[in-house]
């Protein structure tokens, strides 16, 4: 188990190093740089700026310097937010994305499990048809459409009620999070509903459920102990990557609801060619994703020893 864990962590570190290097190379090969602006700088100003950010040194030296700083956990200072360290940007804005993400995952998981179980129980009957139709919508419609529609309905609802039922956008209280989290979790919720449904259907017709019935186990007990508990396993295994995907993929929702999350900085940095922020956020997100995948692998290995042996 220990050697397996160590191996996975080592693989993870190599992956992150690869991500960092590839991003560094790609970023520096894009035409333009973070110092260019619509007011062209003369040689003096340009040289002053380059010296300030260390861009006047050879690229390989910059790379070594960068990697050295990164190992010490220092991502440098942003080019566009000139007085802010990238570490500060991540520390201040990732919790926002994470909070929204956690709530979205909770919505998605609970909604997915409950609705999946419901559709399996009522398969080929009205609740099943309605929910499965909604699931197809949830999977195929992109989140920005839901975000815009949700916000518009909220405005109309507030206008109709004459007071603010829920705030339209912004951040600060849990009432600000409800709609964005729901919108953010919808896709995953739909996906989990389908997963739960098929897994539940498999379990319902399994031998041990039939045995339990034959033994005369009370129906409520059959449902919770034998069916739900077994059917929920595959859902839990996909939750790890789902958490990472939701926490890192909320840019559009953050934009529409004016949520000060990290996603906005991630996308803006790319548009602005803000080298340090691009590197910082990419490496951070990369590490986070890799960590979640390793965690799931380790949990797998713990549950099922066959995985370890492979």
């Amino acid at each position: 188990m220990w050697s397996y864990t160590l191996k996975r962590i080592l693989q993870g570190i190599i992956t992150v190093w690869f991500i960092a290097t590839a991003t560094f190379v790609a970023m520096h090969n894009v035409p333009g740089d973070p110092l260019s602006s619509d007011r062209a700088a003369n040689e003096t100003i340009r040289a002053n700026l380059e010296a300030r950010y260390g861009l006047d040194r050879p690229l390989f030296e910059q790379y070594l310097m960068y990697m050295g700083n990164m190992l010490r956990g220092d991502f440098g200072i942003s080019f566009t937010q000139q007085n802010r360290e990238v570490n500060d940007i991540i520390r201040e804005h990732f919790p926002v994305s994470a909070t929204l993400g956690v709530l979205a995952v909770v919505f998605a998981a609970l909604g997915g499990i409950l609705m999946g179980a419901l559709t399996a129980l009522y398969r080929n009957r009205l609740p099943d048809y309605i929910i499965m139709f909604l699931v197809i919508l949830g999977i195929s419609v992109p989140s920005f459409v839901f975000a815009a529609l949700g916000q518009l309905s909220l405005v109309n609802l507030n206008a109709m009620m004459g007071f603010s039922v829920l705030p339209v956008a912004g951040w600060g209280t849990v009432s600000h999070m409800l709609l964005p989290a729901l919108v953010l979790g919808l896709g995953t919720m739909a996906y989990l509903t389908r997963l739960m449904r098929s897994s539940m259907l498999e379990v319902i017709s399994s031998d041990y459920v039939r045995t339990a019935r034959a033994k005369g186990v009370p129906p409520a007990r059959i449902f919770t102990r034998h069916q739900l508990r077994n059917a929920v396993m595959p859902v839990i295994t996909v939750l790890g990557p789902a958490i990472a995907a939701i926490t890192t993929g909320g840019f559009v929702v953050e934009l529409v609801f004016a949520v000060p999350g990290l996603g906005r900085y991630f996308v803006q940095a790319v548009q602005q060619l803000d080298y340090t922020v691009i590197m910082g956020t990419t490496v951070f997100y990369g590490t986070f994703l890799v960590f979640m995948v390793i965690l799931v692998d380790l949990v797998y290995g713990w549950i099922d020893p066959r995985v370890r042996l492979k």
């Binding site: 260019s36 007011r39 007085n83 909070t99 129980l121 206008a159 209280t173 529409v256």
Partner: protein
């Protein structure tokens, strides 16, 4: 009754009951979780402790938004419009613009230009937000610092008219040799390289704002990064700034002018540029104003809102590549392109936003001439669309170039939906009227700039906004020495006229030079003017006196008040 079925239905109803129980437990769990998150989110709140309504009459507070997070508030390195707008509320320079856009004294009570020497007399009651007086030394420090090579300010060039400024900026001379002097605490003297007529109008720009040396040095390079790391001398003070989320301004008790800063608190509670979000926030009465997109006009009219528009001062145009190896070097080819299009059609049929003006000249309509508007005194000569003539010019160009047919031309443009839409209009017009194939090269901002600088285009959709209130801010764009002249147009005649406009102290002579520059740019078809950009916006009817400016703060609340 089959036993099998009854087992099934018993199981189903039991499972249904269980599901309901689980749902209730989940809801309870979510409620507890949200309670915890509520506390967590309070730490990164965007409400900034203020009220949520757009206008709070009792607290004399308004709530509005910022398009972007300001990069930082150090006036000596600020380059963007959002920082400029906040700085205009929290700082005051020697001179400023009044409600009507006229130059008036700010920290300076009066000023006098004598050849290349300008003296500013500072008012006694102008104070910093810690109660100490604003002195001439604060300007000496700020101007020197803005030019210091170590600071690396992008806008350092705007100080170059000051004696020795450029040499100080490239490290040839020490900071002390800059032509600024604190004669005494309240007398500030500037010496210019050569006498120029428009220096007082430049002084209203953010780079010229004061900063106090002892405080600046105490911040250890973090001046302007956070509210407590800044000293204010304007009508407002920044009291909170949650990065990426909100910013709060409160009245500065030390500010001298009772006519400004009438609203107690200005709460920038949101930072977003999404027009739909802004419209929804405005509709929900959460913000006092919102800029509108073209698709939102009908809705705004339906709601019966006050719709206002203004030209924000920037001119947009197609810039040709005048480099030797490019076909667009040929004058007849450029004329053909010009004659084949119609900027009126672009504005009225493609952009369809009120507030936009069809482009006619490099000089926008708001510039002042001798007595009236420059464009009234020197009307812009223009080619009317004439497809016959355009084809004739194209044929002539082909003959001169020795070509059978024109190869594909590249039109470089930005990556926003609007700029792509405009590029598509030109692509279609040039194809239909001239039979020329144009490919659109759509790039993000910094890559477009790089391609412009490297000359990798035939035509580029470009724009230019003013830095100061004088036609020269546009006129010198296409001089052979200007680094922003990315199409590399070069003409001795134009350069000569710009030199006159730069050095002459006689207003009439300068304006004649601008008229001449306008004519040269038209005759040589340096650009095809597209439009002057406008903004359409709605405001809460209770908010009065808000000003939108071409020069200085794009939105100015310092003269605004709330009417019940």
């Amino acid at each position: 009754m089959k036993p099998d079925r009854s087992v099934d239905s018993r199981l189903l109803s039991a499972a249904g009951r269980q599901l309901i129980v689980f749902t209730l437990i989940s809801l309870l769990g979510v409620a507890v979780l949200m309670f915890a998150l509520n506390w967590l989110a309070g730490l990164t709140s965007s409400a900034a402790g203020g009220s949520r309504a757009a206008v709070d009459i009792e607290a004399n507070t308004i709530t509005t938004y910022l398009r972007d997070e300001p990069p930082q508030m150090n006036s000596m390195i600020a380059t963007d419009a959002v920082s400029g707008m906040i700085l205009n509320h929290v700082m005051e320079g020697l001179l400023r613009y009044d409600q009507f856009g006229n130059l008036e004294g700010g920290v300076a009570e009066r000023w006098e230009q004598n050849g290349s020497e300008i003296t500013f007399w500072l008012r006694e009651d102008s104070l910093w937000s810690d109660g100490q007086p604003v002195t001439a030394h604060d300007f000496v420090f700020a101007w020197r610092n803005a030019l210091s090579p170590a600071l690396g300010s992008q806008y350092a060039f705007i100080l170059y008219p000051v004696l020795n400024a450029e040499k100080v900026n490239n490290g040839e001379l020490p900071l002390e040799s800059l032509g600024v002097e604190a004669v005494d605490d309240r007398t500030f003297r500037v010496t210019l390289e050569t006498p120029i007529a428009y220096f007082d109008r430049m002084v209203a720009f953010v780079t010229f704002l004061p900063a106090r040396e002892d405080f600046y040095n105490a911040t250890n390079g973090r001046y302007g990064a956070d509210p407590h790391e800044m000293l204010y001398n304007g009508p407002y003070m920044m009291t909170s700034w949650v990065h990426g989320s909100s910013l709060r301004l409160e009245k500065n008790p030390y500010y001298w002018d009772d006519n400004r800063g009438l609203i107690e608190v200005i709460n920038f509670a949101h930072m977003t540029s999404d027009p739909n979000t802004l419209l929804n926030l405005f509709k929900d009465k959460q913000i006092v104003m919102a800029d509108l997109g073209a698709t939102m006009l009908d809705e705004a009219m339906l709601q019966g809102w006050q719709i206002q528009s203004f030209q924000e001062g920037t001119v947009f145009f197609i810039e040709f590549n005048h480099r030797d190896e490019r076909l667009t070097r040929n004058l007849n080819l450029r004329k053909a392109f010009y004659l084949a299009q119609d900027s009126g059609e672009l504005v009225n049929r493609v952009i369809k936003l009120p507030g936009y003006l069809p482009g006619e000249s490099l000089f926008p309509v708001w510039l002042r001439g001798v007595e009236d508007s420059l464009r009234d005194e020197f009307p812009a000569p223009m080619y009317e669309r004439n497809i016959e003539l355009a084809r004739e010019y194209l044929q002539r160009a082909l003959d001169e170039l020795g070509l059978e047919q024109l190869p594909q031309m590249t039109l470089l443009t930005g990556d926003t939906p609007t700029s792509r839409m405009q590029a598509e209009y030109y692509q279609e017009v040039f194809k239909r009227n001239l039979g020329v194939d144009v490919i659109i090269d759509s790039q993000i901002f910094r890559q477009r700039l790089e391609k412009m600088t490297q000359g990798e285009f035939d035509m580029v959709m470009a724009g230019w906004g003013p830095d100061y209130d004088d036609p020269l801010t546009f006129a010198d764009l296409f001089t052979s020495w200007n680094l922003n002249n990315r199409g590399r147009y070069a003409s001795d005649a134009l350069d000569a006229q710009v030199r006159i406009a730069q050095s002459s102290l006689d207003t009439e002579e300068r304006m004649r030079a601008f008229g001449e520059i306008q004519r040269l740019i038209y005759e040589d078809v340096v650009i095809i003017p597209n439009y002057e950009r406008g903004y359409v916006y709605v405001t809460d009817p209770r908010l009065r006196g808000m000003i939108r400016r071409v020069i200085g703060a794009e939105i100015d609340f310092t003269y605004a008040w709330i009417e019940e």
